[in-house]
């Protein structure tokens, strides 16, 4: 039992964080370079999930938390999961099904999309001319399909868990980003002749953000290891990880807006990037309450 990253995993995390900082900063989330997808593919993140590479889910979770911290494209989740379970090397959009319609995120340039319905993973073909527009999350494009496309089940229960795990990792990264943005601002912003982080009212909001992020990250690590171990309890632990990570991302993002004060509610400042991404993630492979209530193995 060891829930700390080993040396190889540390190296993956450092390399990912360094690259993201230089090439995919959070601040550019709504104006990504047109060749970002090509760069991400070259860096190996979209294909690291393929079994040929022999990397475990724990390593993926660590890397995707770093990608999520920099608000990497949401479609990287569906692309990486499709790579593992369908073998495709192409870009794959993310499906968010609803009762009345089907939403496709990051479907631009993709001919296939992947999503969950009733807890099972499926793919569907996308029309050649997908009319994508903006979405709540300024980093993601959205298209709504008038008629429900034919869904092809992947027939592999682990695919749904895989998507949920990577989405939880993104949310953990988002929670970290909001926490760090808030505490950096609280150290810099001066009122009453001192940094606002001096005041317990602000300090304790920041401390609660640190608690939520640490709780969610710990469960993410355990969940990733549980999926690697292949036991019956993986579904519970991944659901718990997704539930706590979504909560941490949303609550930390909200607190981050508040700590920034008036600048926090503007379009030009960055807190809303995290807030909108956090809300989007709650619709990606959401945790089932029933699984959380049922007896954990």
């Amino acid at each position: 039992m060891d829930l700390t990253p080993n040396a190889d995993q540390e190296a993956f995390v450092t390399a990912t964080a360094d690259w993201c900082r230089d090439n995919m900063p959070l601040e550019n989330a709504r104006e990504r370079s047109p060749d970002l997808w090509t760069q991400m593919r070259e860096m190996g993140w979209l294909g690291m999930t393929h079994t040929d590479l022999g990397l475990d889910h724990a390593t993926e979770a660590l890397v995707f938390a770093e990608l999520g911290r920099h608000l990497a494209p949401i479609g990287a989740l569906s692309t990486a999961v499709a790579r593992r379970w369908t073998g495709t090397e192409r870009r794959v959009g993310l499906v968010i099904p609803a009762a009345d319609t089907v939403r496709i995120l990051d479907g631009t340039g993709a001919s296939l999309a992947l999503g969950l319905r009733d807890g099972d993973a499926f793919t569907c073909a996308l029309p050649a001319e997908l009319a994508s527009a903006a979405s709540l999350d300024p980093s993601a494009t959205l298209a709504r399909l008038a008629s429900t496309p034919a869904l092809t089940p992947l027939g592999e229960p682990r695919a749904a868990l895989h998507l949920q795990l990577l989405a939880a990792a993104y949310a953990v990264g988002c929670a970290d980003a909001a926490r760090d943005m808030a505490s950096d601002y609280a150290k810099m912003r001066q009122q009453f002749d001192r940094p606002i982080g001096w005041f317990q009212a602000i300090k304790h909001l920041c401390a609660d953000m640190a608690v939520r992020a640490a709780v969610a990250r710990s469960q993410l690590y355990f969940a990733a290891c549980a999926l690697d171990a292949g036991g019956a309890d993986a579904a519970f632990h991944i659901a718990a990880a997704k539930h706590l990570a979504d909560q941490a991302a949303v609550e930390n993002s909200r607190a981050n807006v508040q700590i920034h004060g008036a600048i926090g509610i503007t379009d030009e400042a960055y807190p809303h990037f995290c807030l909108k991404r956090a809300h989007l993630l709650t619709f990606v492979a959401p945790a089932s309450r029933q699984i959380l209530l049922d007896d954990a193995a």
Partner: protein, 383 residues
């Protein structure tokens, strides 16, 4: 990263389980310290004789010299087996002993550690004072050096098990006129020494477990100072992060069991159909899992580097507040039966009432948030 235990660790777990299954006493541990003391001492002695006391304490002082992971496995199985709380041995085993291991002289360790492990010496903690709670550095109880003795005057309060303890880890001001963290010393105080008066204090649950202690010219040998005169603050702080990391593992397993029991009860009574209750229970189920994961992360860090991670303070805060949410849910599910509580009962209502201590004792949640904000996030110190 890996969530599997090694074959040796699994074998160790099976040994723990087998022994506990055959030996956990069937009678309930008495509620109040006075009635519980014989029970606590006898149970600790049985643990020691069977080799389960001080699993990761050094072998030369009566421990087993095994790993922290094995200590964790033992504590998990201990809770799974519904073994009794170690009660009056809590301070010696979880705080006094570990502080001695890190800071005491060979003589002090050789005398005290085996006695703690055998349940022969009950310890209590003398840190808080009427005027020094969250502001612990405001300690006023003082000790004057007189030859080869310290002469102690003052008062300590909220001291669990003071009225049944043999020894006390006592932090006093040994330098006259010293301020704050300076001039304090960590002393092994004999609770049977003349001049000590103990006044037990009842809690709102009716339980009598802690007390106020008065010192009136109490003479303690200078040789009982641990870590050198004037180094008391450093000695006291040396084990705080340890306490935050592993001192509450059995409690965490208990919390997990309690959540499962609450879900069962909510299903049996139909209260699970209340959406708010179902949501809160699902939340708690996820949280107790995460608490275990966070503890494993911390233990892994200790096993790898010898030090708990920076997030150890998060565990203490999260665990305390989660425990209170669970206790509150338990009384919510009781409904009107909560009203049947009588002063001194030992049940879910008593757990709820006692549970308020969790976010106060050992550093209030407000102080913990200061620590997390300042040490983990680097926010400016406000004190």
């Amino acid at each position: 990263m890996d969530c599997n235990f090694s074959p040796e660790e699994q074998q160790f777990r099976a040994q723990c389980r087998d022994w506990l299954y055959a030996n956990v006493p069937s009678e309930k541990r008495p509620l109040n310290a006075i009635e519980a003391i014989d029970f606590d001492k006898a149970w600790q002695r049985r643990l020691f004789d069977a080799g389960w006391a001080g699993i990761n304490w050094p072998a030369e002082y009566g421990g087993r010299g095994l790993s922290i992971v094995q200590q964790v496995i033992w504590l998990e199985e201990y809770a799974h087996a519904h073994a009794p709380w170690i009660g009056a041995n809590f301070v010696g085993i979880n705080h006094g002993g570990p502080t001695l291991i890190l800071n005491a002289s060979e003589e002090q360790k050789a005398w005290h550690l085996p006695r703690i492990l055998k349940g022969e010496a009950i310890w209590c903690q003398g840190f808080s004072e009427p005027g020094a709670g969250s502001d612990l550095a405001g300690i006023k109880t003082h000790a004057r050096v007189d030859g080869d003795e310290l002469v102690i005057n003052g008062s300590k309060i909220w001291t669990s098990f003071a009225h049944v303890a043999d020894w006390q880890e006592l932090v006093v001001r040994t330098e006259e006129g010293s301020q704050r963290h300076k001039g304090l010393s960590w002393v092994i105080c004999d609770m049977h020494a003349p001049g000590i008066t103990v006044r037990p204090i009842a809690k709102m649950s009716g339980q009598v477990e802690f007390a106020q202690v008065f010192y009136d010219d109490v003479r303690i040998p200078l040789a009982n100072v641990v870590g050198g005169l004037g180094n008391g603050w450093k000695v006291a702080m040396s084990t705080l992060s340890f306490e935050r990391g592993t001192g509450f593992i059995a409690d965490q397993v208990k919390q997990s069991q309690e959540v499962s029991e609450l879900i069962e009860r909510a299903r049996a009574t139909g209260m699970i159909r209340d959406d708010r209750i179902a949501e809160q229970l699902a939340q708690m189920r996820a949280e107790v899992a995460a608490l275990q994961a966070m503890t494993y992360r911390n233990i892994s860090e200790v096993a790898r580097t010898g030090q708990p991670g920076a997030e150890a303070s998060v565990i203490r805060l999260f665990s305390a507040e989660l425990g209170q949410r669970i206790e509150r849910m338990a009384v919510l599910l009781l409904g009107e039966a909560m009203l049947d509580f009588r002063y001194g009962d030992d049940n879910a209502v008593a757990d709820y009432l006692r549970g308020f201590a969790a976010t106060i004792a050992g550093g209030s949640s407000q102080i913990q948030r200061d620590i997390i904000g300042e040490r983990l996030l680097g926010l400016p110190k406000s004190r």
